[in-house]
């Protein structure tokens, strides 16, 4: 039986993931719920709600980034604000879960061990999908409850939950296929994430080029949305027309991907993919033979992805810069923008808000690069490398330098892309590029503080380092994005170093905060380095 012992493996997966998945579910429910409650607070009157829905429908950028509202009520606005984003995160949860219980198990040799027992050929894949599916059903439930808790209508809340859960499930199916095709676990995550990026992009194009309805608030998406599972999720139209047929579409799609994955998995060997493995050099180049060269080599692929990503985002942000006055011209959205991006002209506030948010997002790259140190330590090459004539300090410095140099490049690419596109549409290339480069590169200062924190926890409390690092990142992101909106208390907002940077380009860059942040980060980096030199390695 090809499915024998699926239940046992699924229980094992649940046992391994009980905390991880619980955090995912609660965080996504909290995101959905807090968005709904923020919207309710921001737009007090039905007229204000309708006006905002109309603005979203008339703004190409809002349609492209988050999708339009599904009608003129609070729930419909919450959907416009959060549905697409939550669907993307739900998809990501499924990508990581399915790869973790399929290819990662194979890569670490666990699948070989379990596969040699009375376990069916497809049991590993089936167990991973079973766990993902259960998580998706629960996700749909908790998201619906979070919306209901805000007093939103029952049917719409269930439809929104179903949309989120269903797009998660669709990506469990896509990942199942990617896991058969890709070279290894990381490649499988990359492949499935690329599919997710494409799905987001297709629906962005579909929504941006769609037709505005007669009410001026809703939008009928153009055909590219139909190629994207996230586009299908939007077709539920919660709190609007409310449709249920997308469930059938998701059912068919998921069944098809699972069938394909099952067929592919019967035609490949454990531990290998369907794509041919490229041969590489038989000798190391001179530049690879130093800790710095090695760290660079290990980072450059990820870095390239980030550079392309932020450049595309930058071009999109910058390209609509000249329409900001039209898009956010209404009193309320201008007010919203100023809360996020500081005073000054609306365009400046827009760029301050967008680049401020992207600055935190880019810090995600910095963390990812720095945490490689930790990954290399537990069951990685650090043991053998640190038994060569490489000191711990040199090893640490190489990784930190590469991570920070990469961060500068990413911020630079973001500023350049945004500046070029805005310069072209606004007709003043030099000023636009100059202003936006300063805006984005200035984000390096708070990023340094976050990087210092990561190195400090890595040096002092290695076992908790990964969790603490991402928790700090989440705090910065939430405070940065929702702090002003949710009217969080000042001391809480001040926890994020990103709150201490002036709202460039709306405000002027001052030396004080930058110097303070630089000093603090040097202190933290030194603390981490000393801790790392003095402690035991925590090898497996």
């Amino acid at each position: 039986m090809s499915m024998t012992a699926t239940g046992v493996l699924a229980r094992l997966a649940v046992r391994r993931d009980r905390v991880r998945l619980t955090v995912w579910l609660l965080a996504l429910a909290a995101l959905v719920g807090s968005t709904a409650s923020a919207i309710e607070g921001l737009y007090a009157t039905p007229a204000a709600v309708a006006e905002n829905a109309a603005i979203r429908a008339s703004s190409v950028v809002a349609r492209a980034f988050t999708g339009p509202a599904t009608g003129g009520n609070v729930g419909a606005l919450a959907v416009a604000e959060a549905l697409v984003f939550t669907c993307v995160l739900a998809a990501l949860m499924n990508v990581l879960t399915v790869v973790r219980h399929t290819r990662q198990n194979e890569e670490l040799g666990r699948a070989e061990l379990t596969g040699s027992t009375a376990v069916g050929r497809h049991a590993g894949l089936a167990a991973a999908l079973l766990v993902a599916a259960v998580a998706d059903v629960l996700l749909a439930g908790v998201c619906a409850v979070a919306l209901l808790a805000n007093g939103l209508p029952v049917a719409g809340s269930i439809a929104a939950g179903a949309a989120i859960g269903a797009s998660g499930l669709a990506f469990a199916g896509i990942t199942a296929v990617a896991a058969q095709v890709a070279e290894g676990a990381r490649a499988a995550i990359g492949l499935a994430s690329a599919a997710l990026g494409l799905a987001y992009l297709l629906r962005a194009v579909g929504d941006a080029t769609g037709e505005t309805g007669p009410d001026g608030m809703t939008v009928t998406a153009a055909w590219p949305s139909w190629l994207s599972p996230i586009g299908w999720a939007q077709r539920f139209e919660p709190y609007g027309d409310q449709r249920w047929w997308p469930l059938a579409l998701f059912g068919l799609f998921t069944a098809a991907t699972l069938g394909l994955a099952g067929w592919l998995s019967a035609h490949r060997d454990v531990g290998t993919g369907m794509m041919p493995v490229r041969r590489g050099r038989t000798r190391a180049t001179r530049s690879l033979r130093t800790p710095f060269g090695l760290a660079w080599r290990l980072q450059r692929g990820t870095l390239l992805g980030w550079l392309v990503g932020v450049a595309v985002f930058g071009l999109a942000f910058g390209g609509i810069g000249d329409q900001v006055d039209d898009l956010f011209g209404s009193e309320q959205s201008a007010e919203l923008m100023r809360q996020l991006g500081g005073g000054g002209s609306l365009v400046d506030a827009y760029f301050a808000a967008m680049m401020g948010l992207m600055g935190v997002v880019v810090a995600g790259y910095t963390l990812q690069a720095l945490l490689r140190l930790r990954g290399d330590e537990t069951g990685g090459p650090a043991e053998i490398v640190l038994a060569t004539a490489v000191s711990r300090t040199r090893w640490l410095v190489a990784h930190v330098l590469v991570a920070l140099a990469g961060t500068v490049l990413v911020l630079f690419a973001l500023g350049l892309g945004t500046g070029l596109a805005y310069g072209v549409v606004a007709g003043d290339l030099t000023a636009a590029v100059g202003d936006l480069l300063v805006t984005t590169v200035a984000q390096l200062a708070p990023t340094l503080v976050l990087a210092g924190f990561v190195v400090a926890v890595f040096g002092l409390v290695p076992r908790a380092a990964v969790a603490l690092a991402w928790a700090a990142f989440a705090v910065c992101l939430v405070v940065g994005q929702f702090g002003a909106l949710l009217e969080l208390p000042e001391p809480l907002i001040d926890v994020s170093p990103f709150s201490h940077l002036p709202d460039l380009p709306a405000q002027a860059l001052t030396a004080g905060p930058v110097a303070a942040m630089a000093g603090l980060s040097v202190l933290l980096l030194a603390l981490g380095a000393v801790g790392y030199r003095r402690r035991n390695l925590t090898l497996h």
Binding site: R283, A284, L294, A389, V390, N536
Partner: protein, 298 residues
């Protein structure tokens, strides 16, 4: 001259005592077997000697220096192969060999070429696609191609097939002939018997035996399973024979190694039809000698 001198080494992880006053002496120019069952503390000892872990108390000297304080300087003079080789999945084996060798202070080019051939490694494949044995080969080639004084090998043959084990043994003999020091941790007694001048046996973080192999002969017993033409009587009465079980014309027994000639003579008189003899595993040895005694007599 001693290459490694460890005296009363203690290392704890929380409540777990990994090393409990461990002693170890490795003379310069010898191949020293470091034996113990899984979890005895072999890897922990080695990691303290490499300055990867910090000792709690006791004395540890490596090549005349302090393993923690002088780590980098000492590491130029040694090569280390861990039991579990996890390198960079997207680097090729050839790149990893060069990288590790260079970080250690340089590779002997002709030796590298020779070893890649001897170990039959395809250096153009990415590490992620290698089997455990091939990953082990990458670390071994990089270590053996480094011209250093001390080689620290932590269970280096797990995952190697018998052919490659023979290549490995040749390499270690070459090192001994060249006057290098080798610390070879293992739980396979046969491997240690073939290669080592002296051995230390540890259990639960403590040294239980140390000396030359001849000194430790009294620890080893050979298991014999025999089928004879005449009923196998009188075996139990022989000196150095234990645990005799007779079933018709078949018998199973355990013999102290130095008594083997007497037992062979006796069996020959009975007309041997088939005979297999297996050296005892280290675990059996431990069970017999220390099994009734709590770990480290604590």
């Amino acid at each position: 001259m001693t290459a490694i001198e460890v005296d009363g080494l203690v290392k704890t992880f929380g409540d777990t005592v990994a090393l409990d006053r461990l002693d170890l002496t490795v003379h310069t120019g010898e191949v020293h077997g470091f034996l113990g069952p899984n979890g005895a503390g072999k890897s922990t000892t080695i990691r303290v000697l490499l300055g990867l872990l910090r000792k709690d108390s006791g004395r540890a000297t490596l090549l005349g220096g302090d393993p923690w304080r002088d780590a980098v300087a000492l590491h130029r003079r040694l090569a280390y192969v861990p039991g579990d080789v996890n390198l960079w999945p997207n680097l090729t084996g050839g790149e990893a060999i060069d990288l590790l060798g260079t970080l250690r202070g340089g590779l002997a080019e002709h030796r590298r070429r020779e070893l890649v051939d001897l170990f039959d490694l395809d250096p153009g494949k990415r590490m992620r696609t290698y089997s455990k044995g091939n990953r082990q080969k990458v670390a071994l080639i990089s270590a053996f191609a480094s011209d250093v004084e001390l080689y620290v090998l932590d269970e280096p043959t797990s995952g190697l097939d018998p052919l490659m084990e023979a290549v490995f043994q040749d390499c270690v003999r070459d090192l001994r002939d060249a006057g290098r020091t080798v610390l070879l941790s293992s739980h396979i007694l046969a491997e240690v018997e073939k290669l080592c001048d002296r051995v230390s046996i540890i259990r639960s973080g403590r040294t239980v035996e140390s000396g030359s192999l001849t000194d430790l002969r009294h620890l080893t017993r050979t298991s014999i399973s025999v089928e004879t033409a005449a009923p196998p009587d009188g075996l139990a009465g022989l000196a150095g024979v234990h645990d005799v079980a007779v079933d018709g014309h078949r018998a199973r027994l355990e013999v102290e190694t130095e008594r083997l000639p007497d037992v062979h003579r006796h069996l020959a008189g009975l007309g041997v039809r088939s005979l297999t003899s297996t050296p005892p595993t280290l675990e059996e040895l431990f069970l017999r000698h220390y099994g009734d005694q709590p770990a480290g007599a604590r």
